[in-house]
């Protein structure tokens, strides 16, 4: 059934020669780097395939080979149909040329002739929203305008196969949203799509997923997405994930301070005898630290992020108008209780900030957190911050048997129980 195949990749490998040899895991020096190793993959027409992999896993190299930009060291690729390879949005744009000239330049680079472009030109400009600035050189465009124009070109030209490299990771939220819609539209209209990304969210609606790690392709099923993402998070944060009751005094992501010294943190679920955190029990964590100086108070701000590094919640005693009044030095213990049925089955990053004299320095008309996940340090002094990873298993007990919800793959950053009531108001006769 070769006629239904869009892309056939057979044992493709790609070797790069390094300028400076590096030592591998066995200590052997080598100037060879295998960006891809024996990749085989068959993509049928109309399929949408997402390839997930961390930075440096070979995603871009694979797309470069598929688009013909670089040749494989060994192996073979067959492509049936007209390919749009979008390795970079706006590749081939020239800053000195106007928007209009760049539309023609870019579309011609992608293999369209002037006549085809002319028939789509108005649509492209309309969609981009560039309007009257279309005759300005694109170097004067804002980043958003630039991206919108580039993406508009791709969206309006007709290809059979689309190769995307992290398209949705650029631009602002609005752009991401738009590009997501366009990719969805392409999927719905039966185009073949291959998108590589390290962002799982972009690939949710794709028909199949693959993982790429150190140049090797792992099909979904051998390893679940969640499991895979955990590995990436661990790698990126270079920490370990705490999954059971423990007291730790070695920390991976801590900044040192002259004023504070963390002694230990304990992560505890009372009554939990399991080797993992369950969600049907409250979760406590205690932080013991030594305050080295007197004359100021310390408040803690905690934020919890999901696997994509997006903050999903922030908590601090001051939210309930409670500020620390301890100004003397010494060992201090802070405890935080998180209720049961709160977390979902995923890895959370917990970020703690120790703030100096929050009560005196807080200004309710200014923002506390800047748009990045860092504190707005102008107004409030951060004495110390630390970050660690935690994982939970959503569970409940039925007749004393634990039921594990983690395989249900329930979406959502949190999985709270809330209070649900149901009653019969009138009975049918």
């Amino acid at each position: 059934m070769s006629d239904s195949i869009a892309i056939k990749i057979t044992e493709v490998s790609k070797k790069y020669t390094l300028n400076y040899p590096v030592k591998d895991a066995h200590g052997i020096e080598s100037s060879e780097h295998w960006a891809l190793k024996d990749i085989s993959l068959e993509i049928k027409k109309g399929e949408s395939v997402g390839i997930i992999g961390p930075n440096g896993s070979g995603k871009s190299t694979l797309l470069k080979i598929l688009s013909g930009v670089t040749k494989p060291t060994s192996g073979r690729v067959e492509i049936f149909g007209r390919v749009a390879s979008i390795l970079d949005i706006g590749a081939g744009f020239h800053p000195e040329l106007s928007g209009k000239e760049n539309v023609y330049l870019n579309a011609q680079l992608l293999g369209f002739n002037r006549k085809e472009i002319k028939s789509k030109y108005d649509q492209i400009v309309d969609f981009s929203g560039i309007g009257k600035f279309i005759n300005e050189p694109v170097k004067n465009y804002s980043n958003g305008m630039y991206l919108r124009l580039a993406f508009s070109i791709l969206a309006h030209l007709d290809f059979d196969i689309y190769l995307f490299d992290e398209v949705m990771s650029v631009g602002d939220a609005d752009f991401k949203n738009n590009s997501k819609k366009i990719v969805q539209h392409l999927i719905d209209s039966g185009k073949t799509i291959l998108l590589v990304s390290h962002h799982i969210k972009e690939l949710e609606s794709f028909s199949s997923h693959f993982f790429l790690e150190s140049g090797k392709l792992i099909p979904e099923g051998k390893i679940s997405i969640g499991k895979y993402l955990e590995q990436i998070v661990i790698k990126q944060n270079q920490g370990e994930i705490y999954t059971y009751n423990c007291t730790i005094n070695k920390f991976t992501n801590v900044s040192n301070s002259k004023e504070l010294e963390i002694k230990e943190i304990s992560l505890q679920q009372e009554l939990n005898s399991k080797p993992y955190f369950v969600t049907d029990l409250p979760f406590n964590f205690k932080i013991k630290y030594i305050k080295k100086k007197t004359g100021y108070s310390v408040d803690i701000l905690m934020s919890i992020s999901n696997i994509n590094d997006e903050i999903i919640l922030t908590s601090s005693p001051f939210v309930g108008d409670t500020f620390s009044e301890l100004t003397s030095d010494g060992m201090i213990e802070t405890e935080c209780k998180i209720p049961s049925h709160f977390f979902n089955s995923q890895v959370y990053t917990i970020h703690l900030w120790f703030l100096k004299d929050l009560n005196k320095s807080i200004n309710y008309s200014n923002s506390l957190l800047s748009t990045e996940n860092l504190l707005n340090e102008k107004s409030i002094e951060v004495l110390f911050s630390m970050k660690d990873l935690m994982k939970f298993k959503p569970t409940y007990k039925r007749n004393n048997i634990e039921i594990d919800l983690s395989n249900l793959n329930i979406k959502g950053a949190l999985l709270p129980k809330f209070e649900w009531n149901q009653k019969l108001i009138t009975e049918n006769s």
Partner: protein
């Protein structure tokens, strides 16, 4: 476009036939890149294209003033200024293609890394730009011809042959430099020497008879010197048609073809090193 049918990607370089077919398929890009270069070159200038005339005009004035007027170098039959300009036309065309063609892979590095097209398109597009510049420079010739009452010879019919020879002379080093310099770029640094010193072995602003007979053969063997002489022969029937030109043209053509062959075999690696 080629993507309609099956596209096969394998480690082997394309055979010569496929390669030329690809260039043919992508031929419109030659114009696209040439137009882009021309637009970009004169972006944000008052004078725009006029700069293409001013640059050879300045060279013409300098050479004529120093060598023709101050040093009183003589050229038989032709006024010195016309002699110099007719030399500059071919020489500027040649040096433009060499400089721009050799750096074209690096200049388009970002595009090459993201979009596939046959890389020979780039030097070819520089030929188009050089042709436009050449055409603009010939405008300078008109007032001089009118002033000195000189007629264009019927040999002008050989223009296509002359311009092809001229182009091949320039593309030969472009292809070979790309082949040898994509990994280690030393040759790019040698290029300015090659061009700046080359003009002293080419009768652009001097007549070849200022060389003693014993070393005159260097100029006879220099293909680009042949081209410059051919230009004068073609425009004004100046000098005699030398059959060594044809031999040199044949050698250059062969060298260019072999250079292109190796360029084709290596061009897929350009994007890994640029």
């Amino acid at each position: 476009m080629p993507e309609k049918s099956v596209k096969i990607i394998s480690p082997e370089p394309d055979d010569f036939q496929t390669y030329f077919k690809k260039i043919w398929d992508y031929k419109s890009l030659i114009w696209v890149f040439a137009m882009r270069d021309l637009k970009v070159k004169y972006a944000q200038t008052f004078l725009g294209m006029a700069w293409s005339i001013l640059q050879p005009l300045t060279a013409l004035i300098m050479y004529t003033f120093f060598f023709g007027y101050l040093l009183q170098w003589k050229t038989e039959k032709l006024p010195f200024s016309i002699y110099v300009l007719s030399g500059l036309l071919g020489w500027n065309f040649f040096s433009y293609i060499i400089y721009q063609g050799s750096s074209s892979i690096q200049d388009s590095g970002n595009t090459i890394k993201k979009i596939y097209f046959p890389k020979s398109i780039l030097p070819f597009s520089k030929v188009i730009v050089a042709l436009v510049e050449l055409l603009l420079s010939t405008i300078l010739l008109i007032p001089l011809l009118l002033y000195y009452q000189i007629n264009i010879s019927w040999n002008i019919l050989a223009f296509p042959l002359v311009i092809i020879f001229n182009t091949l002379c320039a593309l030969l080093p472009v292809f070979w430099i790309a082949v040898f310099a994509y990994k280690k770029r030393d040759l790019f640094h040698l290029l300015p020497y090659f061009v700046t010193f080359g003009i002293w072995l080419t009768p652009v602003f001097f007549a070849k008879n200022i060389f003693p007979d014993t070393i005159k053969y260097i100029i006879e063997l220099n293909p680009i010197a042949n081209v410059i002489e051919m230009w004068r022969w073609m425009l004004f029937d100046y000098g005699i048609f030398n059959y060594i030109w044809l031999i040199n043209a044949g050698i250059v053509m062969l060298g260019c073809a072999v250079g292109m062959y190796f360029y084709n075999r290596n061009e897929s690696k350009f994007s890994d090193y640029v």
